[in-house]
């Protein structure tokens, strides 16, 4: 049995993947196809035949993509920057909250008289629990909602570069901290940690504010303004 709505939904999804066309534009194309199907079925075609003819007449996704690119090229770049920023800001936000919880867990343990290593362990435990919760949430979301991304497609080079950056960054950071603690006097380390902490908090807030501002600007710019 041919399900027209399912076929149209499938075709829309494919069009989004092939042609990278924005939802609003896909909706307009969908309405076109539905109009055409209505006309063809009125002429005696079955739903299935009408659907095939209507989508064929609309044209090839890859050709449409080129034409839409020519018109909305800059919007495409803005979209990439936008989602990059959303990911960055979102990641930073989660990271900061978790770091705060982890530090609090560690400090509370130390204050309640547990040894340094146990306090450190408690901080790590809190971090693991929080990240597990975040990943579980994302995993559930990705299964409950349709993910608009080509199956099996991963920007591998970017992923690889990110992983390498995280590994090198963490290693350098840890080595620097251990080195500092080994070389300098405890009070000096304490003072530097204090100022680093304050500076870090200020920079994080600054990045949030500027990043959010940039997001708002891009979001406004990418909306086509239609005056009545």
């Amino acid at each position: 049995m041919f399900e027209l709505d399912a076929a149209i939904a499938n075709w829309k999804n494919q069009l989004t993947l092939d042609a990278d066309i924005a939802d609003r534009q896909v909706e307009e194309l969908e309405m076109h196809v539905r109009d055409a199907i209505e006309v063809y079925t009125a002429k005696g075609l079955t739903d299935r035949e009408a659907f095939i003819v209507a989508t064929q007449m609309l044209g090839d996704g890859s050709v449409l993509k080129q034409e839409f690119r020519k018109v909305h090229g800059s919007a495409g770049t803005a979209t990439v920057v936008y989602w990059g920023l959303v990911g960055f800001i979102g990641g930073k936000a989660i990271e900061t909250v978790i770091a705060g919880i982890s530090r609090s867990a560690s400090t509370t343990s130390a204050l309640s008289g547990l040894s340094g290593s146990v306090a450190g362990f408690m901080g790590v435990l809190a971090m693991i629990l929080c990240w597990s919760a975040v990943l579980l949430f994302l995993w559930r979301r990705s299964f409950l909602h349709t993910v608009r991304s080509q199956p099996g497609y991963l920007p591998r080079t970017w992923l690889a570069m990110l992983v390498i950056a995280i590994i090198i960054g963490s290693a350098v950071n840890t080595a620097a901290q251990i080195g500092h603690a080994q070389i300098s006097a405890a009070t000096d380390v304490g003072t530097s940690v204090l100022w680093l902490g304050i500076g870090n908090a200020a920079v994080q807030v600054g990045v949030f504010v500027l990043g959010l501002g940039l997001l708002v600007v891009i979001a406004q710019k990418s909306q086509p303004r239609v005056s009545p």
């Binding site: 534009q25 909706e27 307009e28 194309l29 309405m31 050709v63 034409e67 018109v71 909305h72 239609v226």
Partner: protein, 112 residues
């Protein structure tokens, strides 16, 4: 059958001219052009939309989302003031080409 290049070149004045009549939506614009040209002008239907969006970006055409009679969402386009001016300019250009060719070929078009 009109060539691909000429079809592409004429899409702009055709859309502007159709919209000068009244507000309209994509599918109806295509149908109208097909009927008026007696099937000589065959657009790859999807191509209308990037052209519409370009005209919208240039400010020649305005759009709004409305509802069709059957209650479906539909994007309607209409001419802006600068769209009307662009249509006038297109008209002059096409008439100039038409007159030149008519003079060269020594034929008068039969419009009966």
């Amino acid at each position: 059958m009109i060539s691909k290049e000429l079809t592409a070149a004429s899409s702009r004045p055709l859309i502007l001219a159709v919209l000068s009549g009244s507000e309209n939506y994509g599918y109806a614009i295509i149908q109208q052009v097909r009927e008026l040209s007696g099937g000589e002008l065959e657009w790859s239907e999807g191509m209308l939309y990037p052209v519409m969006h370009r005209l919208e970006k240039e400010g020649l055409v305005l759009s709004r989302w409305g509802k069709s009679d059957s209650g479906r969402r539909r994007k309607y386009y209409r001419l802006s003031a600068s769209g009307k001016r662009a249509l006038q300019s297109e008209k002059q250009q096409w008439f100039a080409v038409h007159e030149t060719l008519t003079t060269l070929w020594g034929t008068k078009p039969c419009l009966s």
